[in-house]
């Protein structure tokens, strides 16, 4: 475990350094003030520390709780009880997700509590659907296709402003708290099975859970109108650095303490209800793990909140002043690639995939495919900004491609792809890439909601394409060769001679 911490620290450092260097050099070239640059460098170090601590902590706490719960509830014969507990778990872990809170405060027209509980309900219901799928061995592809047909039909009848918000809330739902939890819940739910579909059933939960909020939030569109205002002042705060770090740290601790409460509650209730579920040693480990997770998460949030948002926004703004679209796109390609390398939720997902597939689908190859997805997402978002392409066309065409690919790729890759889509739209996308696009958007004087916000929706879609293409290549490369002229008679050896 300590060894794991060391390797994880090394890996995170390697993935953060390129982005740190690129952003620092770009900032200097664009003439951004030194205060911002210095705080970005400090934040990058905090980011390394935060991500490493968080993933280490969640590995020994949340992921163990999730897996145990999944494993135990599937053994319960009472289906309605299983479904109700899954609904409650889905709802609670979503409403406490820090990213969702940030999004809710940014949307001025809908009361926070309404949006948060709508998204929570969406996740809860779809986690239920995912469990039904595992219990009754339904086909993931069919469920997803039906849901996307519903979503796109709804999109046609709803105000344009609401579509990006619906897709974005789905993207932010599956964040740092829910990804490890839901992911391991799926592993637990399928762990006692040995049939052919076990692996593809293990994954796909996060994917389904991120569809839920799109539908429920789109329904909200019937009640509220989509005209939102966005406050760009959050990017231009000029307090002294030290104060910013201290203020943010206190705020982040509060922000992450609240999510921990329901998780601790779920843990306690589960421990009381089902006997012998956790040994004394495991309990100690989980408590220690939760504290480490909390600290790591707080450090992570501080680093992104203090400087990533501001730097991203300023870079976007300055790039527009250069009036060079191809240079902006080039920067976007690189930054989109690099930012996915750092995303903690993606790291957790990739580790799990590597473990479940015994290293057959290695985390490096997943990481590269996801990063390519990130680059494509940024290119599409920028093109959309420059040439006024409607988000609906991109999503419609993209998801059509996703569905076609799902018929060509192995089942397990479709499931993994949908999970990656949910995980790729994590905290760094919302705190660095989104402000970057918003920066360009404000400089070009366009509508932030319709033109900038769709980034998260596109970011959630491109990995579905790249991962499924990876699956097709994989299938081709690992095809079992059928031999014709070989002798397969069984022969005995005189093994005693060799000992």
């Amino acid at each position: 475990m300590i060894e794991n911490f060391k390797t994880s620290l090394k890996e995170t450092t390697i993935s953060v350094i390129p982005i740190c260097i690129l952003v620092t050099i770009t900032s200097i070239l664009l003439g951004i003030d030194y205060n911002t640059i210095i705080s970005f460098i400090i934040s990058s170090f905090l980011l390394i520390l935060g991500i490493t601590t968080f993933t280490f902590g969640s590995n020994i706490s949340m992921m163990i709780i999730g897996e145990k719960i999944g494993n135990k509830i599937i053994k319960n014969k009472n289906i309605s009880l299983i479904l109700i507990s899954v609904l409650i778990i889905g709802f609670t872990i979503t409403i406490v997700e820090p990213d969702l809170k940030i999004l809710a405060t940014q949307l001025t027209n809908i009361p926070d509590i309404v949006l948060i509980s709508t998204v929570g309900l969406g996740v809860g219901l779809f986690l239920m659907l995912a469990t039904i799928k595992i219990l009754f061995k339904l086909n993931l592809k069919t469920i997803i296709i039906i849901n996307y047909i519903i979503i796109f039909t709804a999109c046609i009848f709803l105000p344009n402003e609401f579509i990006p918000i619906a897709f974005d809330s789905s993207g932010v739902t599956t964040g740092l708290i829910s990804v490890p939890f839901i992911l391991t819940l799926g592993i637990g739910l399928t762990s006692s099975r040995t049939d052919k579909d076990t692996k593809s059933d293990t994954f796909g939960l996060i994917g389904l859970c991120s569809i839920g909020p799109i539908i429920t939030v789109l329904l909200l569109g019937l009640l509220y109108d989509g005209n939102q205002t966005y406050d760009t002042n959050i990017f231009t705060n000029n307090l002294p650095l030290i104060n910013q770090y201290i203020n943010n740290f206190i705020k982040s601790i509060q922000d992450v303490l609240i999510p921990m409460i329901p998780i601790v509650l779920v843990f306690i209730i589960f421990k009381l209800v089902s006997k012998n579920s956790f040994t004394k040693k495991e309990t100690k480990k989980i408590i220690l793990g939760l504290i480490i997770t909390l600290l790591g998460l707080a450090i992570f949030l501080v680093s992104v909140n203090v400087s990533f948002m501001k730097t991203g926004y300023l870079i976007g703004e300055k790039f527009t002043e250069l009036n060079n679209e191809s240079l902006t796109i080039l920067f976007g390609i690189i930054i989109g690639f690099l930012i996915i390398l750092v995303e903690p939720a993606v790291k957790i997902l990739n580790e799990q995939i590597e473990e479940i597939t015994n290293g057959s689908i290695s985390k490096n190859i997943m990481q590269i495919s996801l990063s390519v997805g990130g680059s494509i997402a940024v290119i599409l978002s920028l093109l959309r900004l420059f040439y006024n392409i409607s988000i609906l066309y991109i999503l419609l065409f993209g998801y059509l491609l996703v569905i076609i690919l799902s018929f060509l790729t192995p089942k397990v890759f479709t499931a993994i792809a949908f999970d990656s889509g949910g995980s790729a739209t994590g905290s760094l996308t919302t705190t660095f890439l989104l402000p970057f696009i918003i920066g360009i958007c404000t400089a070009l004087e366009k509508n932030i909601f319709t033109d900038a916000f769709g980034l998260i929706a596109i970011m959630g879609m491109t990995p579905l394409i790249t991962i499924q293409i990876l699956g097709i290549i994989f299938q081709f490369k690992t095809k079992q060769k059928i031999y014709k002229n070989i002798d397969e008679t069984i022969i005995d050896y005189d093994w005693r001679k060799s000992i």
Binding site: E3, K196, K285, G359, I486, T489, W495
Partner: protein, 226 residues
Amino acid sequence: MIELMCLISSDKDDKSIKPLYSKYNMPFNFTIYGEGTASSSLLEYFGLEKVKKYIYFSLIDQKERTNILQDIKENLKLEKEGNGICFTIPLSSSTKHILNKINDKENTMDQKLKEENQIEKDNKKEYHLIVTIITEGYAETVMNTAKNAGAGGGTLINGRSLYQDKSKNMFLGFSIEPEKDVILIVADTSIKNNIMDAIVQKTGLKTKGGAIVFSLPISDAVGLYE
């Protein structure tokens, strides 16, 4: 003669072991994940003692055994405590294909010896561990075939193949290797060859299953019921 080599190590990237595959002609390799324990009481108190371990299995030519073990010892620094262990187990039988691929000179049990052993065995039952390595998803077929041939039960492990030939499984500089299922079945000598034959017929290399089958000698066993 062919032996099964097991290497247990925390070495993650198979860089230190893979070059040996082509150096010593080892075409059949696979790996599984496991967990080891570190020896520190402080870590154990918090339940953090677990270390990820990788178990590498390879079929090797017995004549090369000393050289291979020496190379592994040097590459993975096994003389240092906690870096891992490596050991070999002789095979009691395998398909002829495996023998041909690894070592062309046969050194099999001749008929006379077989009969002598048979008399000896009549007094005491002798058991073997049948190991089947097969494309992921075919485990159930193997189990059913084995049961029909007289096997009592089996155990399933998930693993991954490691190719000897580097060029055919690379993509963008990353290796792509297929997932494999490993099925362990314990059977006595009288039915062992029937089971192995049945598995090879139904899911062998001439089919999509691509099963590789061999057996290891077991000196004694308890818990087997017929």
